[in-house]
Structures are given as structure tokens and as C-alpha cells.
Amino acid sequence: MTPNADSGNGHHRPPGSEFARFFEDMERSMREGLVPAQALHDPDLYKLERERLFTRAWNFVGHASEIPSPGDYAMRYIGEDPFIFSRDEHGEIHVLFNACRHRGTQICRVEKGNTSHFRCPYHGWTYKNSGELVGMPALKDAGSNLDKSRWNLIEAPKVAVYHGLVFACLDVEAPPFDEYLGDMKYYLDMLFLLNDDLEVMGEPSRWTQEANWKSGAENFAGDDYHLVYLHRSMFEVDVIQIPYAANMLGHHVLPGNGHALAISVAEDPEALAYWGYPEEVTSKYDLSRLAPTQQDLAKRSRVLVATVFPNLSVLAIPLTGNPHKDPPTAFIVLRLWQPKGPAAMELWNWVLVPKGASEEFRQASYRAAMGTFASSGLFDQDDSEPWQSIARTGGSPFARKIDLKLNYQMGLGIGSARQIEDWPGPGLVFDHRYEEANQRVIFERWLQYVSSEAYPPLTGAPTLSEAANPNGGPSLRMDYRTPV
């Protein structure tokens, strides 16, 4: 039966069945480092993402420091769905579907505020900021015999807080967050256990691109190679002051479950790096919270860039938007690549600064972030160019006709990066950073979600093996579905 034929007899075909061949083909091609261009711009694949990815994966909603006081709230999105991110009168965090239980009216119509109760504008149904339905106008006439406790705002089925980062999951079948994060935790803990008093500065900024969200997620997963050319101007005007070749030294880390992380590591073990944080910050680090191998890696880390599958990226890097006056300053950016369409995304940007640092450092850190990685950011500006044109390629009829595959083969015997055999931490780890598995794992995990009605099982780190490749090409192949 051809996948695209209409059976004509009214039988229900499961969603995505027209993609059966595409999914099989992609699973094969991913092992050889090839990604179908179609994955970056297809309306029907996007529909599958909406139904199977963002409704099942763990999604970043916000940082606990954004809603510090009871009644604080902000409006956020999980995939395309609006949720209220609130703190109730007892200090508990809630992630509440922004829809009145009466007629479905969106009850939160601003982006941020503080309230004890949400009141629907339509008929006045009133909910506490915890989501509990507590009343409505003319209660006796309109709502007698209504069991209000069954009509609270709908909570996201699962909510987890990791070092202040609040994640939510819309699927009761999903694994708990710490299993979902898996061994990625070992690496992100380096950053967040040492910098343990981070708070968001201000509100997140947002802008839009006619690009697929996966272009951003894969880039921040560890595309370090594009620094040499796309961001060459940054070296020429001294915004980045780590020499390019030295910056490429370090590691690509694949801990499993679609997460990826890249670390630029200083060669000199005595060079105190810690992502460029100054002594006033690093002197407060409690190193005993890390294992010795983590301590060593953290100490020599200059840059950390990572994507928590599917679409939350973390970046720590010392930069300056004003090299005349400001030396490179450490900052941490959280970046969410929100899907808005097959070739449309909204970029959300948070800057994290240490609460206990001097006001001077906090402002300098914020400025460094805003000048480089933000809507006007010197790096972000240039990223928008290839990403938008890649979406055009992805939607190309010719690309579909020839089943265009994109080359993500670096590290499969292409290039000189090598797997580190005796790495003391978890995951598959490469030395150095000219390597593209970090990008591939995002697509592969995406494939596992969109191609499967059942919840995709957790996977351990990918594995490398020899490739029997009679046609030439990469001498290695990667398997991504190691059972956990």
C-alpha cells in the first residue's frame, strides 16, 4: 500500500502514516550523518510536532526568580499553547492552561502581573492564582449544584524545578524530569551548582524569525564551527577575545535523550576560567558540591553552550559589546526556540545574573549578554541569515523531489574529532569541537517523538561503530537508540 494513497473505504489511518517511508529513511540516513532538508520546513511534520513533541516532551516555562512573590504571574507558551506561570499565596509554583473552564476564554490577557485571583472577562468565573475555581457572579442562580472543585484551571500534568528553571510536561506518560534530563544533569550541574544564586534580570525579550525552531536548537547544541566564518566579525572587532583555534579546543558531550552540550576548555589547567566569572563570583563557589572530575572541567571551562531537548538552550561565554571600555564579561543566557509554524519561530531570551554579585558586575554581565545574544545581539543578527534561508530550502519542492539530504557528517570519520575512550564522566564525548553529533542528536530525538504514537523510550548516549561504506563517505556510523 503506497503511503500516500487514500484507501477510499473510510478506514482511519493513524496520523503520520504518510510519513512511514520518510521516517524509516531518516532513521537510516541519520546513522550516516545525513538529515533530510524536509525536516526543516514541512507543514505536516510540523503538525506531528505539535501533537507528538511539544505535548509530550518536557518544556521550559520560566525561571522561579521571575515570579518571586505570591500572586506574581507571567504568560508563557508550551509549544503553541498559552499557560499561566504563577506563584500562589503559599509560595507554590503553578503552570495553568490559559483557558476558562466555562467557555474556553483566555483568562490571562497580559504578559505579566500580580494578582490574587484571575477573573474571566466573559462571565466572571473567578479562580485563585493557584487555579482553584472559587466563584462566579450570581452564584446561586448561575452555579448552584456545580461542584466547583471539578472546574479548576487545568494544571500542566507535570511540573519540575531544576536549579530554578521551571519545566512542564503535558503528558502523564512522560518519564519524570530527572530521568528525562538523565546524564545531562552531570554537566549542567557544573554551571548551576556553582552559580547557585542566579536570577533573571528583567523580563525575557522576544523576537521572531521565518526559520524552523530546530535551526536554533541545533546551533546552540554545539555548532562551534560556525564561529570561524559567520561570526568572524566578532573576532575582528574584539567582541570575542578567545582566539578562534583555542576556542575550538574542548569537548562535545552527548549524554543521551537528545540533549547535547559543548564546552570550550582552556589548555592550561592553572588558568582559572569558570566561564569567565570574576573572583567576586567564583570565590563564593562551593566546589565540594561537585565531583573532582566536574570540578576540573568547570575550572577550565571558558564557554558552555547546550540544548536541553527539545528547545531550551543554555549559553555561558565571556564577551563584550564594547571592547574599548568593557573587558569580556561572563553571562548566562537561556534561550527558548518557540515553534510558531513550519518555518516560523519566536526566540525568547533570558539573562541570568548572580543575585549576590556587585551591582556593577550584574549590569556589566547583562550588557555583555544583551549586546551579543539578544534581538540586537551581534551574534544573533548574523545567525538569522542562514537560518531563514535554510527554511526556504527545507520547503523547496525540488528538495523534496530529490529527497535532499544535508551533510551533518563531521565526526563520523570526517574531520579529526575523536571519541574520548576513557572519559571520566557520563555520555559519549568527543575531543575537540569540530563535530556535528551535537546537532544530529536533536534531529534524531525529534524523529523518535514525531514518528511514534507510543512515548519514545529514554535513550542512553549514542554509540559509534565502524561503517561498512562501499560508496566512500564516513568511516563511522552513529546509533542513537541505546536503551537506558
Partner: protein, 174 residues
Amino acid sequence: MPQTTSPNVSDALYRAAYEFLFTEAEYLDDNEMESWLGLMHEDIEYEVPVRITRERAAGPGFSDSSWHMQETWGSLETRVARLKTDYAWAEDPPSRMRRCVTNIRVSPGDAEDTLNVKSNLLLFRSRFDQTSYQLFFAERRDVLQGADEDWKLRKRVILLDHTTLGTHNLGIFL
């Protein structure tokens, strides 16, 4: 707060402010970045605060702690220097832009030799072979400093009529 041009501002001063804004817009529209930078005071404060939707009672929603841009002379000079490299992909090829500066109201500034200038900005931007375009609308609150027609921009706050920006980057000056 509505602000008509103050009767304490002479016609000559009004005209000077008006001409300054049009000259500045022309330099930017024509990509004459060095000339534009020459209009910036060495102590320029150039800010684009993030805006979010708030209830009517809570005001227009401009953040006092997050910005899209918060520039000084040094960071503006770095942006211009970057545009001169061979690798400023975001603006090479350059956007086609046109700035309409209107509703200009001028009043005496707080410091001597300064003028407070309020205006509206409409910026059109298109790129490549696309028929689609971007429009930016904003109120600008400027402080001009100088005398005898040698004016510089000492401060600019750009109050955008946008919360989520409908642009792929703010690699341009508003």
C-alpha cells in the same frame, strides 16, 4: 504626556532640532554610518527598553530592567566597525530602510545647551528579493546637546509599539 513645542523654544531652535532629526535619518537610510556616528555625543545613552503587555492601570509596560539595546558611544562604534568588516552578514547585503520622523515637539532641556525632543518614528525595512517588509513604530525621546547648529544626540530612549518584535534581528538603528 502630551507635549507641544514650548513657546520658550525659538523658531530657529525648533528648526535646528527638526533638521538634526532629518539629517540623522538620512545618514541611517543611506548607510552613511561614520557620518551618523559623528552625530552621537561622546556620552550618548541610547536605549530600547523591552516592552510587555500590562493592564491599563499598570501603564504602558516598558521595562526598567531589560532592554533590546542599551548603548554607549563605544558599543555604537563597535557596531559600526563590525559593519565595515567583510563578515557583517546581517546587513550585507544591507536592508533597504526608510525612516519617517514626525510629530516633532521640542522643549528646553534640563541642562544648559540641551533640548528635549519628542518624535514619532516609522521605519520601513525590506531585504533581498522579498516582497515582505518590516515596519517599526516607536516614540523617541531625545536629548540634543550643542549650540550654534553643532548638535549631537546626547540621549535617546526608543519606546517601541511592539512587545514581541516582528523582526528577525535588530541589527539596525532606530
